[in-house]
Assembly symmetry: C2
Homo-oligomer: 315 residues x 2
């Protein structure tokens, strides 16, 4: 079997697109850019058993908005193509739509339409459309930039695992992790404002995991990076979850698709960026610095290469 990256490589070559299959695609239009992105989510792979219908709808919309956030684009509408098995009850359909609607509202946008199909399992394919004068790309980071995260890590991977474990009695923190998995918020508003104010050099979402995001951003920018383990913000209860499950937090966040953005911010802009985040009632977490070459991790005083094991299909 071909790997996901090889498959994308074959497609990009044939379509002659250089930046395709990144976070979002840009179409120059009337002095701005229309930014569009599509994300397919499937039962089992993205929707674990036990995830509510509302959670399915919410995640479909959030996954797509997350790609717009990485581009610093302001969302103007979402479409969803539904693939439903014929056994689904009418109220399940209503709840999925309700989840979509709430998620779009939470991100100040709307689901404006879509398409209906019959499939064996639930397959939801969203498209988010946004606008930005200068969309952010993975390229553009400069040595000395501060690497910042728009939110905490690990709730996605830990939540996914908790759903699959089908555990009945959950601790309070486990409940919080599952809740965050069901209703993640992408930083569309914050990233679109940071971009509008010119405070960001480069950005990417972390849908293939944290380390992959760092490597993608560095490779597109032709830079390296130093990540400081002590600065990594873990979602409440994630470290406790890791202790129990025998995984290291670093392994966990490489498996996760937390809908957060990794941004390279020039040091002279970082205070302004932090103030902007505060106004959005959120936080920017400083996790490292852009270097000239190598991609490194500092943990417990030791520096080593940051290994890149993200989540990929066909493995």
């Amino acid at each position: 079997m071909v790997s996901e990256l090889d498959a994308i490589c074959i497609i990009k070559k044939e379509l002659r697109v250089e930046s395709g299959f990144e976070d979002a695609e840009c179409i120059p239009y009337k002095g701005k850019n229309i930014v569009a992105t599509t994300d397919m989510l499937t039962e089992g792979e993205d929707f674990p058993p036990g995830l509510s219908y509302e959670g399915i709808g919410w995640n479909t919309v959030a996954a797509n908005l997350s790609d717009l956030a990485a581009a610093g684009a302001k969302p103007i509408g979402v479409l969803v193509a539904w693939g439903l098995p014929r056994e689904i009850p009418p109220d399940g359909i209503r709840q999925i739509a309700a989840g979509m609607s709430s998620c779009a509202r939470a991100h100040k946008t709307r689901v404006i339409g879509g398409d209906m199909n019959e499939t064996d399992k639930i397959v939801m394919c969203g498209t988010a459309i946004g606008v930005a004068r200068y969309p952010l790309r993975r390229s553009g980071a400069k040595p000395g930039d501060i690497l910042a995260l728009t939110g905490k890590l690990g709730a996605s991977a830990a939540g996914y695992h908790l759903f699959w474990s089908k555990k009945q009695k959950l601790t309070l923190t486990e409940e919080a992790i599952k809740k965050r998995f069901e209703r993640p918020i992408a930083p569309t508003q914050l990233m679109s404002e940071l971009n509008l104010r010119g405070l960001v050099h480069a950005a990417t979402d972390i849908s293939d995991g944290f380390a992959a995001a760092v490597h993608n951003l560095c490779s597109a920018s032709g830079t390296g990076a130093l990540i400081e383990y002590i600065g990594l913000p873990f979602f409440e209860g994630v470290e406790e979850f890791c202790k129990k499950s025998g995984k290291s937090p670093l392994e966990l966040i490489n498996l996760s698709a937390d809908y957060e953005v990794l941004a390279a911010i020039p040091p002279e802009c970082f205070l302004a960026a932090k103030r902007t985040a505060e106004r959005h009632k959120t936080h920017l977490y400083e996790v490292g610095t852009v270097l000239k070459k190598e991609v490194l991790l500092e943990k417990d005083g030791k520096i080593s290469p940051l290994s890149c094991n993200g989540f990929f299909h066909f493995r």
Copy 2:
């Protein structure tokens, strides 16, 4: 099981969208409209066995462009989310991409990116994005308008059936039908120009079949229509195919998803519209007239209600 129309009704109510799940959705932007549409196609349901990988790629793009054509929008880009089974050979992936690329080029647009997923069967979900100052809608037809089709009917349903029949020795016309099924062309260029020149009152694609298209357009416009059977343009060999298979041509075109558009054109504009079609090396076929109330069919001198049996999922 809920019907497709009921499912869409539940979703539209929950999302509070009135026109959603029509041909394409519009987002007002800078004095124009961004027109976006999404269409999911699946192995078995939309891609019959024996359809080439190139045909899969081509149809994915054409189905989405067809919705833009109905809105009279000029395409500016296409995204595709790929769901692939892990057994697919690398060259199959390449051929699907090549089919997409050729189809986009034939419609003067590009596939700019997408998303990659693992699925049990092939699931391709496209999104086409276009622009129009005044997007066409299903509503707006007026009594007296001429109903016209942008191309011939039946190749889609007959081609689909021929693929499924797995017949080895095909006649020349059967070969032509299969070829048309594999590489349909949507009238994006023609419809976008007709719309730009203000020659069309209302339009819809005929993805749910011809009769459903007539009923949809009439119901949205609050009108009726008289369809003249003798004016219906059948693709070469379709009537012969119908004789052999025991289906009536009218049944057949109600099952088909020919990527053509049904347009309501004021009589005083029809000559100009026909000239425009000629310049695009294509043809507008006059198939009926918009009436005040009933939706009727005239065949062999007899007038009867036009029955509406389109293709729907979950049946």
